[in-house]
Each structure stands twice: as C-alpha cells, then as structure tokens.
Subunit: 223 residues, 2 copies
DNA sequence: TAATATATTTAAGCATACTTAAATACATAA
DNA sequence: TTATGTATTTAAGTATGCTTAAATATATTA
C-alpha cells in the first residue's frame, strides 16, 4: 500500500519531469528539500513497489502505475484548491499549502463529490488544468512563459506556478493575477530579467519569476 | 510540535474519560487497537510534552493543554462530518472515517471558514455537539442511553455513537435515525438487551448497541 | 493474608524516513 | 586522456511508533 511519503515523491517527480519524461535524483532532492541519500533510499522502495523505473545512476521515469498515482494526487490537490478558494474564499496564495495536506487525507469518493459540488472546474486557482477521474487533462491553450515573449508583445496571464515558494504572494503584491494583461517593455540580456508594464506600472521581473508566469500572447493590432 | 499520532491519542483519551476525568492505559490501548506497550511508550512522550498527567501504574489525566488539543480535534472532526454529510451528501455512517483523516490535515483557518460556510452548525450528523473556537460546547439537552429507559417509555433518538465500529450502518439498517421515536417493549435482565418498537417493527437491541444510542424521553400522555 | 489473575512496564526488535560522512561513479573541461 | 568537480550511492546512526515476550506491579478473590 502506498503511503504519504511515496505520494509526495511521485507528485514531485511528475511535476518536474523534463522533456524526455525523466528527472534526476539531485533535482528531486532539492524540490523535496531533503538529502540525496534519502532520495536514493526511497527510489529503491518506489522501484520495488512498481511506481518508478529506476536503475542506479540513471534518471528516473514513472511507470504507468506511478503516473496514475501522481495524476490522481494532482487531481485531488487542484480540486481542493478550487474548493478552498472558490467556496471558502481563501486567497489563491494560501490554498496550495493547505491542499498539500488535504490531498493525502481524502478518498476518491470525497474528491468526486467535491468535483460535482464545484460543477466540474477545469482549472485550479492558479490556472493549472484538473485531471478527470481517468487522469485525462483537457488540452489547454498553448501558454508560454513570460521569458519567451519579445519586446512590445502583449499577453494575458493564464497560469502562475503555485509550486514555487512565495512566488504567488510576491506576484499578487505587484498586481499580477490571472487574466491581467502585460506588455513587454524590455528584455535584459545579462540577467535574463524582463521589464513589463502592467496597469501603468513598470516592473522588472527576475528570470526566475518571469519563467514561472505563463501567458497567452495577444495578437498585435496593426496600425 | 504535536503530531498526528499524539492528536489521535489525545482525542481517544478525551472521548473515553470516566466520570473522574481519567482513563486507564488498558482501555486506551483497546480503543486505539494497539498494544499496551505502545501506549506506555506514547504516554511518556505525551507527558514529556505536557499534554497528559501521567505517573507509572496510575490512571491518565489530560492537562489543560492536552484537553485543548483534544477538543479542537473534536471540533475539526465534527465540522468536517457536517460538511461531508450536509454539503456533499455523504451518508452519516461513512463520514466518521473520512473525518478521522481530514481532521489531521486542516488548519484552524480552514475549519473556521468551513464553520461559517455551514452557518455555525451545533451538532454533527450523529447528534454530537460541536465545540466552538474556544472549546466551549453548547449545553445540550439531557440525553440518556436506551438502556436507561424503562418498559413502556417512549423516546426520541438524539444521538448515536459514531466511534463504535459498524454501529451506524447496523443502526441505519434497522431503521434508526436521529429524530425517530422508539417505544420500550421489554428489558431482558439476563443479557441487558432491550426490545424496542420502531415504526411498527419490533427489534431486540443488544446491550452494547442500546447503550450507544442516546435518546430524550417523551413525556407519557395520560389517558 | 496468600494465591491468582490482570494491568502495566521494560526490553529487544522492526520498518520508515530521515540525517551526515565517506566511497564511488559519472560528466566535463584541460 | 587525465584531472577535477559533481552526482549518486553506501554506511552508520537517529527518532518515531509500533510489535512480542518477559518482568513486575497492582487488583481481586479464596
């Protein structure tokens, strides 16, 4: 039987897979804020239990069973977030941490009832899609990170990474929220930061921040 | 910092205190379904952390801090139960086990928001009172166990113990629910069971069951 | 009061999930 | 290709919360 720790590992793995669908132990350790040794330890157990494909010194892949668990945790997490934000009125920068705990303590039955109560939401309060009972996610709009925009591009904020510490509260403080429109004023080569304009304020976003805010480009009006 | 296990112990202690406000390790072990040795172990930790008054071979008492935690857990538990039953429509015989998990994973903030959302319910789906933020419970009606009724007494069901395994589903099956009226047909001395009439059916309740269903006596109409 | 039964504690051991320190493998750059 | 740095694993150790078996204290009954 899977336990809370394993659920956390699988979720962290899934959230941080690279383009090849893999992740290195080192990155996993840093995401979970534990030692590399602890990761090695747990990988042996996850492998033994059939949740990951793992061989010494190699990158980690999820088995389809592991991926199933991970997606289900994401589903639980995001449905709880919607409930907390939408029904209970909890601010969007607080729901992640709360959902992190609730996701381990709720049966699929509760989650399904909640989903129905919430009228089948498609995204969580940060713009991330919610997997359905079968792990399918609705193909979402093509979004790109702010760092991928060019000077003079306009874009609408669609998604903000809720898994980066303090990002949401910072982002809220400077006036960014889902649906807000931004304009790229400048891109600074030397540190990868981006100067944006939002509601008549100009703000410099560090590369780390800009790369975790996802937007939909607004077509330029010819004139 | 208190952990889930400790929360479970404190809750179990509080739920099962005798008239003197004490409980023996043996009873605690059987309620938690673990060995006496494990209880001894944990009591030392709870005592070290200031949650219980404990001396070797003596009965256990809660400190006021321990009692505070216990009451808070009861509050969380019962508010979750109301939510699950009332908002999500989960049957009353299933909400206990689910709440048992959720109670450990929710901040006071969530509980307070939930309480407000539910419009400050006074009792859980099994008729138990919900402590307020300060641990105060509204003085509830005087209820007695069915075993304390006499032949020909009529009574209304006010409360059913949700902490006894399978009791609720059994009780539901035989047609007992909060608000239902029963009539005592007979009390059998030799095994302490009670013969009741409910909705024209006559049912024999074992002593264990009858002692866990609480009622309010209905005044006899003279005729 | 002494014998017996029951409750409680102690002791030794196990699994989990971590830690740090040391050993080893792998990757990169001269 | 070798040297160096980084990633990964192994080893040893810790706290938690259990277990069973044995020892001891307390309660009950003859």
């Amino acid at each position: 039987m899977i336990n809370i720790s394993q659920e956390d590992y699988l979720t962290a793995i899934f959230r941080n897979l690279d383009d090849a669908g893999e992740i290195k132990p080192n990155l996993l350790a840093s995401k979970l804020e534990i030692s590399n040794a602890a990761v090695t330890d747990m990988l042996r157990k996850l492998s033994r239990d059939g949740f990951v494909d793992y061989q010494k010194y190699k990158s980690i892949k999820l088995t389809s069973e592991g991926e199933g668990y991970a997606k289900n945790m994401l589903r639980r997490h995001r449905i709880w977030e919607v409930f907390l934000h939408q029904t209970l009125g909890m601010p969007w920068d607080k729901v992640h941490d709360e959902a992190e705990k609730l996701e381990h303590s709720s049966s699929d039955e509760i989650i399904n009832l909640l989903e129905e109560f919430l009228d089948y939401p498609e995204v969580d309060p940060h713009g991330y899609p919610i997997p359905d009972k079968n792990g399918k996610m609705k193909k979402s709009k093509t979004v790109i990170a702010i760092t991928e925009l060019n000077e003079n591009d306009s874009a609408k904020v669609i998604r903000v990474n809720d898994d980066v510490k303090n990002l949401l509260s910072y982002v809220t403080k400077i006036g960014i929220a889902l649906g807000k429109v931004i304009l790229i004023k400048d891109k600074l080569e030397y540190d990868g930061s981006v100067l944006i304009k939002i509601e008549n304020k100009e703000i410099n976003l560090s590369n780390k921040i800009a790369s975790n805010i996802f937007v939909e480009k607004i077509k330029q009006v010819m004139r």
